[in-house]
Every structure is written in C-alpha cells, then in structure tokens.
C-alpha cells in the first residue's frame, strides 16, 4: 500500500464515514458516551494547542520508533540467518514458536519486575511483541529467493558481505518490507497498550486517564490521534522507502 498524498480520492472514504457519524451523533437524543466528530475535533484541537497531545504523541512515537529499530536490528539478521542456515533454523524453530504466541500483556508484569514502570518496560514488551513478523518475513524472503540469484552471486565471486548487502538483502527486500511494515504498526499498537498498563506515559496513558476522567470526547480524540499517527507514520515509511531505495521500488 503506497498512499500518494496529493490525491483527493483517498480522503473521500474517511470523510464520508465522518459525515455519517456526525449525522448519527446529532440524531441521537440525550447524553451519550459517543461524542460527535465535531466535538472530538474541538477537543483534538484543544489538546493539540495545550501541548499535551503533541507531547504524548511524541513519547509514543519515540518509543515505537526505538522499538522498531531494535526489531529491525534483531529481526532481519536473525530471520535471514534462519533462512540460510538449516541447523540454526531447526535448533531455534520450536523455541521461537513457543515464544511467539505469548501475549505482551501477560509479560508486562514480568517486565515491570525487572524495569519497573518505565520506558524500558514499554520498549522491551513492544519489541517482544513486534519482532516476530520481521523474523518470519526475512526468513521466507531468503527461502523464496530465485535460485538463479544465488548462482549469480557465486559466479561473480562476490564476497559474502558484499553479496549479502548488494544482492541477497535487496532481492529479499520486498518480502522483508512486508514484515517491517507489519512490525512497525505492531510497534505503535503495542506501545500504546504497554503505556496503558506498564508505563504511565504517552498516548496510551492519555487514553486511559481521559477515560477515567470521564472525558468521552477526549478519549476519542486520543483514539483518533493514535490512528492518525499510524496513518502518518505509514505514509512516512512508504515515502522513506521510495526515496531511500529508489531502485528497490523499481522493477522487481
């Protein structure tokens, strides 16, 4: 998915949904926990101006990015190693499959024990929950390489590192990118969840405290902020990929 920003068409659907919501909210009588988009928009603006939302968003974004970078550093090399070394794959596969379905929420108490309610907890939990798609994608990216690509590497006598950097990784790039994108959105989501439970900061905590303060429109404003952050971050990621790796976006 590569949203191209200047297009208007892609904003039609969200706009239509918002209008429908607004109509439904105004049609409904009596006090409601479901605020209208206009109210939410006003609150969004207020929290933006007060600087609270930007600060919270920055915290969440920073935590998500830090976690994602760690995921990339762990997931890609590990996944590629698993894809190319059969012994390693056999030795670790069961272990990985045992860990993979463990819910981050269940691990938060454990992480709190080690790191307390802190950003370390948040990042540990986020990395644990988000690294798997990257490992898997990198692994299958290597496994699905066209055999000819490996033959080109050996016939050109490329050195290991050079081949890895210039041929193998780019050839598996698209597959790895799928994993990286999944991991990225998981990082955002899990950071928010971790903030709700394990690190009282950022958008997740903002959401919880808005809810507990019975500010419905602020709750939704935070929810929107989380979603919008996700959309922007993904756009930025696509943009960065397109411009940092022009050739990889080409052809293939």
């Amino acid at each position: 998915m590569t949203p191209r920003l200047p297009q208007t068409r892609q904003w039609l659907l969200p706009a239509a949904l918002l209008v429908a919501w607004q109509l439904a909210a105004t049609a409904q009588e009596g006090p409601s926990i479901l605020p209208s988009p206009v109210e939410i928009g006003q609150t969004l603006l207020e929290t933006l101006v007060s600087g609270r939302l930007p600060a919270d968003a920055l915290h969440t974004f920073a935590a998500a990015i830090a976690s994602w970078v760690i995921c990339l550093l762990i997931g890609i090399p590990l996944g590629m190693a698993l894809g190319s070394a059969e012994r390693l794959r056999v030795a670790l596969s069961l272990f990985i499959e045992l860990l993979r379905p463990l819910p981050a929420v269940a691990l938060i108490p454990l992480a709190i024990l080690v790191f307390g309610f802190s950003w370390q907890t948040e990042i540990t939990v986020t990395v644990f929950a988000s690294v798997w798609p990257l490992i898997l994608a990198s692994r299958s990216g290597i496994e699905r390489l066209h055999p000819r690509i490996l033959e080109v590497v050996s016939t050109l006598h490329l050195r290991r590192w050079h081949a890895l950097r210039c041929v193998i990784t780019p050839a598996a790039f698209r597959q790895i990118l799928v994993g990286a994108k999944l991991s990225f959105s998981l990082c955002l989501v899990v950071s928010v969840v971790a903030e709700m439970v394990g690190n009282p900061a950022g958008l997740g905590w903002g959401l919880v405290s808005a809810q507990e303060a019975m500010r419905a429109s602020e709750t939704f404003a935070y929810l929107f902020a989380i979603g919008i952050l996700g959309v922007c971050a993904n756009c930025a990621l696509d943009f960065a990929v397109k411009h940092l790796f022009p050739g990889l976006a080409q052809g293939n």
Partner: protein, 288 residues
C-alpha cells in the same frame, strides 16, 4: 536545617479515593512529617505488587489485594486505611436501569451484572449480598468492564445491573437508574474499601516512616474536611475530572485506621463467598 527526609516512592491509581495522598503531597503534609514522596499513577495495582520493594515502597490497594498477596507468601503489609464505606457516606451502588423489571437482588438470577474486577472488593461484596439474600452467586453472570463503560452498557441493555461507585454512580443516575442497594454495607458498617500497603521489609525497617505516613494522611484528611473547595481543586488537578464533576463529586469517607480486625472482616467474607479457599483468618496483614 531540616533532617534528611525519608524517600517514599508510591504507586496509586487515579480516583477520588486517593485525594488524601495528593493533598498531603501538594499541601506539604508529607514534608512536614519528614517524608519525600514520589507519586506514580498506574492503571492497575495488581501489577504493582511485583515492583513493591524495588520500584515502590508503598502502593494503594484494597484489603483483598493484601489478603491474596499474603496467601501467596508475598512480603507485603497493610500500613494504613484510606477510605471506608459507611451508612453516612456511601460510594458504592448496585444499580439497574430505571425501567428495568428487576426490583430486588433475587431478580438477578440468570442475568448479567457488570463488575469492575472479578473477585475484587466490590465484586466480593456483591456476591456476599446475593448470598445473604439467599441467591446462589453462581446463578448470576458477571461481566468485567471499566466503570466508565457501565452506563452505556446498562442503557444498551447489555447488562442487567452494574456494580458502580462514585462519581460514576452519580453520572449514571442522571441517565435514569434505580439502585438495588449498597452491597458493601452488608460486609460491615463501616468497612474498609481502599487502603495502603507496603513492602514488608521496608515497613519493618522504617516503622518511623510508616507512622509519619499515617500522620501525614491524617493531616490531609482533616484538611479536606476543612477546605472543601481547595481540596476539590487538587482533585481536579490530579484526576483531570471536568471542573463541574470535580466540584460536585461525592467524596468518600477517609480514614487511616487499618488493623487486623478490618482485614479479618474481608477474609471472612471472601471465604464465605468462595473467592479464596484458605480457612486461616489471622494472617497478620497489617502492621500495628
């Protein structure tokens, strides 16, 4: 020159129940008693227990939390009360929709009831009330959810009744609910609803600080009784409740009293409703 103050790191959730803590912090009562208090707000105290003695010395909790932790041989002790429920000042209600056919606890058989926390104080109190009314608690289904969502769920007919506390109780009264009574008073009157626990090791090593903690909170409680408006300002600051809500919120009855007797009441009740199966009643949960 003041002597070096004892550092106390404390965890609490956000609700009006913890107003004395914030008053004591903001109005200098902790400082006056030689404590340097550092407050962290968390969502769920059950995660705090593990960090007690490491990241925190003291944490807000309910008597049931202390009992469960002691049963697991965790070294925690109750060091002070915080709020209590009594006829004169009621926080909890069991409510149904105003137009609901449910008139009595006995009508709840086969219905779904919203609870903030299964096997928490409020839930155990409700179970106890059902038991006292002769209703098998197993005949009622409980559905966990946040207080904030209970009004909507009641209105939508997803649940037949809800265990709700202030200020949510007042807020949902406005959308038309009827109360089925206050199960909490069936446990005892008065009965401790929230309290303070500490790492056992720390509490034994710092008996002075524990005493100072109680003294500071007592001062804060007195301050609240005398300065309603200023107290509500502190409440609004820490909870970020909308000003109108903060101004009208029904404050609970605060107390720092916490002894084995208070804990024992809860042990008896929890055993009676089957929430814990340990028969031992005196487990020395509080530090006197």
């Amino acid at each position: 020159q003041t002597p070096a103050r004892t550092k106390v790191r404390v965890a609490s959730v956000v609700s009006a129940a913890w107003l004395p803590l914030w008053i004591a912090k903001d109005k200098g009562m902790f400082e006056a008693h030689g404590l340097d208090v550092d407050i962290t707000t968390v969502q769920n105290v059950s995660t705090v227990v593990g960090a007690l003695g490491r990241q925190f010395e003291v944490s807000g909790c309910t008597p049931i939390d202390i009992i469960k932790a002691r049963l697991r041989k965790l070294d925690v002790v109750g060091i002070a009360g915080n709020t209590q429920e009594l006829t004169a000042n009621q926080q909890m209600r069991l409510v149904t929709r105003a137009d609901s056919p449910i008139r009595d606890l006995a009508d709840l058989k086969g219905q779904v009831v919203a609870t903030p926390s299964l096997n928490g104080v409020i839930h155990i109190a409700t179970l106890n009330a059902l038991r006292q009314r002769g209703v098998d608690p197993k005949a009622v289904r409980f559905q966990e959810m946040a207080f904030a969502n209970m009004g909507d769920q009641l209105a939508a007919g997803r649940v037949a009744a809800a265990e709700i506390v202030e200020p949510y109780a007042s807020a949902s009264m406005k959308v038309g609910v009827r109360t089925l009574g206050n199960p909490m008073l069936g446990v005892a009157d008065p009965v401790i609803l929230t309290c303070w626990m500490a790492s056992g090791q720390w509490a034994r090593d710092n008996r002075g600080a524990v005493a100072a903690w109680r003294a500071a909170l007592n001062d804060a409680i007195q301050y609240i009784q005398k300065n309603d408006q200023a107290s509500r300002a502190v409440l609004a600051k820490w909870t970020r409740l909308p000003d109108a809500v903060a101004a009208s919120v029904h404050l609970p009855a605060y107390t720092t009293r916490l002894g084995d007797a208070e804990i024992d009441t809860w042990i008896q009740t929890a055993v009676a409703v089957g929430a814990i199966n340990e028969k031992a009643s005196a487990i020395g949960a509080s530090l006197n």
